[in-house]
Symmetry: C2
Subunit: 335 residues, 2 copies
């Protein structure tokens, strides 16, 4: 047999109608026990695998979830996607995955695919409000993860960026640092804005005047971060500590310090937001604000499925906790 078995084949083999075969196979509706068994045996025999495409068409919704992240090569997104996949699978959903490379247009393109394939919902790390707008217009539930562009319009799973950042800066201040640089790629997303706010709040609380020169902006990739960091660390007024607002920026600073022959933490202390795997492998290990990406992903799926079940409920923002992992990349400033 070259053709794939359909429910009709199963029905014929079991000597019943397609309706009955369907009821036996799905478990919905009445079927006599012996009939059910006959149908299941026939299905087994024919290696019948229901065509999800046909089922979805009939039911108008699929058992798959869309996941849209910026870049799988960044461990943060890879782990997040892994967490989403894990949780989705547990709930019987499969994953349609897309990467956007940080582009808003690419996000909308991916979103078109999601609506075309009728995914049941979408988990996204947004780069603008466009995806959410687009998907919402097509009545597809969305949940924003990591940052929010559509707060109040859809669910979200985030962490308290400000508190964590403030804590980390306070620790640095406690070590005697006064010239603390914030190394950051954007301050327009909620992540950047809040991490910036935490930085400012900690300085303000300690009565340290804000020095705008110490808030250094960088491009978003490692190469850009590396050169921006090189400029920063080479300046006469080099900071005694740097807070890198994410793992890519931290990598840039790390590489720049190596390039310049600066020792961490002796010449400069370094703290990162996001705890990438490499940070526990290098010497000294990097002190970092760790997020549990798998937990973020799982929470996103959980919330998304609740939303699917109850489309009219008010949007909720789930706040996940962070954890500061103290390693050896900071030290007291020399008196």
């Amino acid at each position: 047999m070259t053709r794939r078995a359909t429910i009709k084949d199963v029905a014929v083999a079991a000597g019943v109608s397609r309706s009955t075969a369907s009821r036996a196979l799905t478990g919905r509706g009445y079927v006599a026990t012996d009939v059910r068994e006959r149908v299941l045996a026939a299905a087994e025999n024919l290696r019948y695998v229901p065509d999800a495409t046909a089922r979805y068409l009939k039911q108008q919704v699929s058992l798959s979830l869309g996941v849209l992240v910026s870049d799988l090569r960044n461990s943060f997104y890879a782990r997040l996607a892994a967490g989403v996949g894990q949780a989705a699978r547990t709930q019987g959903y499969s994953l349609v995955l897309a990467e956007d490379g940080g582009s808003a247009e690419a996000q909308v393109e991916a979103a078109e695919t999601f609506v075309a394939t009728r995914v049941a919902g979408v988990v996204v790390t947004p780069v603008s409000a466009d995806v959410t707008t687009y998907l919402s217009r097509h009545r597809i539930p969305v949940i924003e993860v990591d940052r929010q562009f559509a707060a109040g319009a859809c669910d979200a799973v985030v962490v308290d960026n400000q508190t964590a950042s403030q804590q980390v800066i306070e620790d640095l201040i406690g070590l005697g640092h006064r010239r603390i640089a914030l190394f950051i790629d954007e301050t327009t997303w909620t992540t950047g804005r809040e991490r910036h706010a935490g930085y400012q709040a900690a300085l303000a609380a300690a009565g340290i005047p804000l020095d705008p020169d110490l808030v250094v902006s960088s491009g978003w990739d490692v190469d850009a971060a590396r050169s921006a960091a090189t400029a920063l660390l080479r300046s006469d007024e080099r900071p005694t500590a740097v807070f890198a607002a994410n793992n890519v920026l931290a990598e840039g600073v790390w590489r720049a310090a190596n390039d310049l022959g600066l020792r961490i933490p002796d010449d400069v202390s370094l703290v990162s937001f996001d705890d990438a795997p490499w940070m526990s492998l290098v010497t000294p290990g990097l002190t970092a604000v760790a997020q549990d990406e798998a937990a973020l992903g799982a929470a996103a799926v959980r919330r998304l499925l609740e939303r699917i079940a109850e489309p009219q409920a008010a949007p909720v923002t789930v706040m996940m906790s962070t954890r500061i992992v103290h390693r050896e990349s900071t030290r007291a400033v020399r008196p």
Copy 2:
């Protein structure tokens, strides 16, 4: 309007039949220019997005590819998946992604989802021949990547593990090493078998007798690798160099060396198969056999699409090149 627009809505709005609307929208078949424009305008207006589910059902194939890897948290798989996604998107395919955590049953389960959703083809890093058997039985083209379990029965994209491993060991021998350990998690997959063979070949060529105690097997995760490596490095007969057969094992060795206070390369040289991102961040940087994961993924998609176009062609195995990245984790053995 609360309902999603269908092609019927578009047809009505444009004042044509559904057939004509379909021809205009898909670009297949004749449509008068002005009619086409009217249809497209109507579609735009109604924010019409064709239901891929219905299209697939009718055409009996989808424009999506299945990707099945072990673990997205391993940078090798994450980058491979990214490469596949990139290439797939370029060709108009979307990605259904699944992780198997290294389990053969999980692979078959994922494969069931793939056949249910009628993916056009599957890219897999197999852990047994089961997936390929299962998918082939359902007439779904498969391509194995990284290792082969169904050589001759389906396409594959691999690297020349043996040659690369042999080269790396020869380099070590050239540095005067004689007690070189192979640290490996399995020798039943093609990857492990070939890397092992390369190790043996290099020793044989140099007339160095094989010492079975120097082929050290380890569990597959970092914790297992770390403790196995600790035992290895702590032994009286400690090797002067270690060749870790993949990036996870290399991480285990790295951590074990740190735990024990051993310096690389002074106390022991270390070389890895797979060049993970952290290997260029640590000091000393790790010498490693690098694979271009994005290129592997792209080649897999290319070959898979050829196979889809020509299902009867003989299976081909595509061999990708590797590159040895020399860093500072090896040194000449003390005389």
